[in-house]
């Protein structure tokens, strides 16, 4: 395709705008990176030493050796992956029903499910806390995981419905003729064929859960149960600038797994989010 001069100019304008946007998001991360490789002395120099004179990896080494940090990361892995698996497992049958069955009020139900996603966690924080308290589920990873699952289900239902929609209906018919029940047809035909969608939904949940803060913050008060997000917040609020460089290193390390997953698997995530957008 031949592009006109005006179009190329427009392209450059878009790139420039995107660069500004990217900087707005990247600067805090770069600042974090800068702090994480400084010595304690250089932390006090502030922005004047954006690139430190004596960069050190010592902070990372100290954080990684710290038993507390290891426990926070492990808690995060556990909560995030169990929450993601639970959300996918529970959303799948619902998404299948929405994909395959016709019933009155289906459109309204789907919008209702989506609208749950629009409610900010902050709005329901206090009732949620009291609710979980009554159930005796506070201070436990089990209760926390249940909330992670609940938070992930709405968007997962939508994602999976799109994946199931992409599996041809005639395969359901063929399976019915071959004598399979609905459940068997779901398990043996639809699920395996929607596997890429299931995986993307799982990964997306994993990333969202990795950065989850509000739920564990209200649910867990014991240090040994915290995921990394809560731990960092608590330390940032309680310690002096003497440990800023350590905190920065911990933050950076905490971001890395989510970032790595995203970079490695972004193709799948993007595929899941845009599936069904165009007819192939």
């Amino acid at each position: 395709m031949v592009r006109s001069r005006a179009e190329r100019m427009a392209d450059w304008a878009v790139y420039a705008a995107m660069l500004v946007l990217a900087l707005a998001f990247l600067l805090p991360v770069l600042w974090l990176a800068s702090l994480s490789v400084r010595t304690q002395a250089e932390v006090f120099m502030g922005a004047a030493r954006f690139i430190p004179e004596a960069p050190t990896l010592d902070n990372f080494a100290r954080v990684l050796r710290d038993g507390g940090f290891q426990s926070y990361i492990w808690n995060t892995v556990k909560l995030a992956s169990l929450g993601a698996a639970g959300a996918v497992a529970l959303a799948a049958p619902a998404a299948y029903a929405l994909s395959r069955m016709a019933f009155r009020g289906k459109g309204a139900l789907m919008l209702g499910i989506l609208s749950v996603q629009m409610v900010s966690g902050l709005v329901v924080l206090i009732p949620l806390y009291r609710f979980m308290d009554r159930l005796g589920l506070l201070e436990s990873h089990f209760g926390t995981t249940l909330l992670y699952i609940a938070a992930g289900i709405p968007v997962t239902i939508w994602l999976l419905k799109v994946s199931f929609d992409a599996v041809p209906r005639s395969l359901d018919d063929a399976a019915a003729i071959d004598g399979l029940s609905r459940v068997e047809s779901f398990a043996l035909i639809t699920l395996p064929l929607a596997l890429p969608g299931l995986i993307s939904a799982f990964i997306l949940n994993l990333i969202l859960n990795w950065s989850q803060f509000l739920i564990p913050f209200i649910m867990l008060s014991a240090d040994d149960k915290w995921p990394i997000s809560v731990a960092i917040f608590r330390f940032a609020g309680s310690t002096s600038a003497a440990t800023t460089q350590l905190l920065a290193a911990a933050c950076l390390l905490a971001i890395l797994p989510a970032l790595a997953i995203f970079v490695l698997l972004q193709r799948y995530i993007l595929a899941a989010l845009t599936a069904g957008a165009v007819k192939e």
Partner: protein
Amino acid sequence: MGQVELQSIHKSFGPTAVLDDINLTIADKEFVVVVGPSGCGKSTLLRVVAGLEEASSGALLFDGRAVNALSPGERNVAMVFQNYALYPHLSVATNIGFGLRRAAMSRREKRAAIERIARLLEIEPLLKRRPNALSGGQRQRVAMGRAIIRNPAVFLFDEPLSNLDARLRMQMRSEIRGLHSKLPTTTIYVTHDQIEAMTMADRVVVMNAGRIEQIGTPSQIYDTPRTTFVARFMGMPSMNMIAARYDGDALVLPDTRVPVPADWPERLAPWVGRELLLGLRPEHLSLRTSPGGVPATVDLTEPTGSETLVYLHHGDTRLAARTPPDTRLRRGDQVHLDLRLDRATLFDPDTTLALPTLPADPITKGETA
């Protein structure tokens, strides 16, 4: 072990009636082709028999036993779908053997059954492949293998050849027919292709707008259509429909009078002075070398090699004639046509039904007797 009977089957989707009072009995081992234009309800009919759709009312009997309440799996039917509907994540062998999951057979017996079917359909080398590594024709065979292996009481085909190219379609047509003579099983075959209907069927069911227009052998359908719809739908080009008035001893056309055969006046007595539709197949119009007959003007000729189709008009009436391959005519040429009235079908223009006083057709008579 495979008689299928539909008694007053109705099916509506919401307010829309898709099947309207369908009555049809298919004999054991019979090959019935259901044909009709898109949206006539033929696929829904098949899906009702399969159990994929529930009839809104009416009874469906297999060998005299009501099966309305049975699931597709319990009905012992097998179906070949238009898009084959092979399981993409399973090998050809697993696809073919999938219907045997519940069968009381050992692994080895199943394996043997799959290999026997693969030999029959000549797809043995493909057993380990996935469906996406197969050509259209091979997928079609796998789909048939999956249907055959369960030894069903009834085979259902839903436009199975419409995704294949013309040559392959012709080949598969005869293969399916050949398969039916090797494994005689009741078969309901749905298509919109009248050639498939004419060449494959023991009996043809012509459907239109949710109703059955006519049931009959291919030659009955072709030679003695019961309605103008059947007359127009079956046959390529369609049957010529010539509006004419009967005056007692001749049919009056815009520019000419065509004397009727000797036995017509007695049969057509009630029609004197009334309008009729004269239905004539293109092969029953012929070009005269001398003046007389019906004058017509040539619009278009289509030489196909084995014959030449000539499209003409007489007044407002468009006509088609099947003529020998050496016919040389140009647009605008004036010709004269002979009408073989002994092969004509007459229709009542108001009801669109063929007149009960059909001119006797010796060929059809011989077959139905």
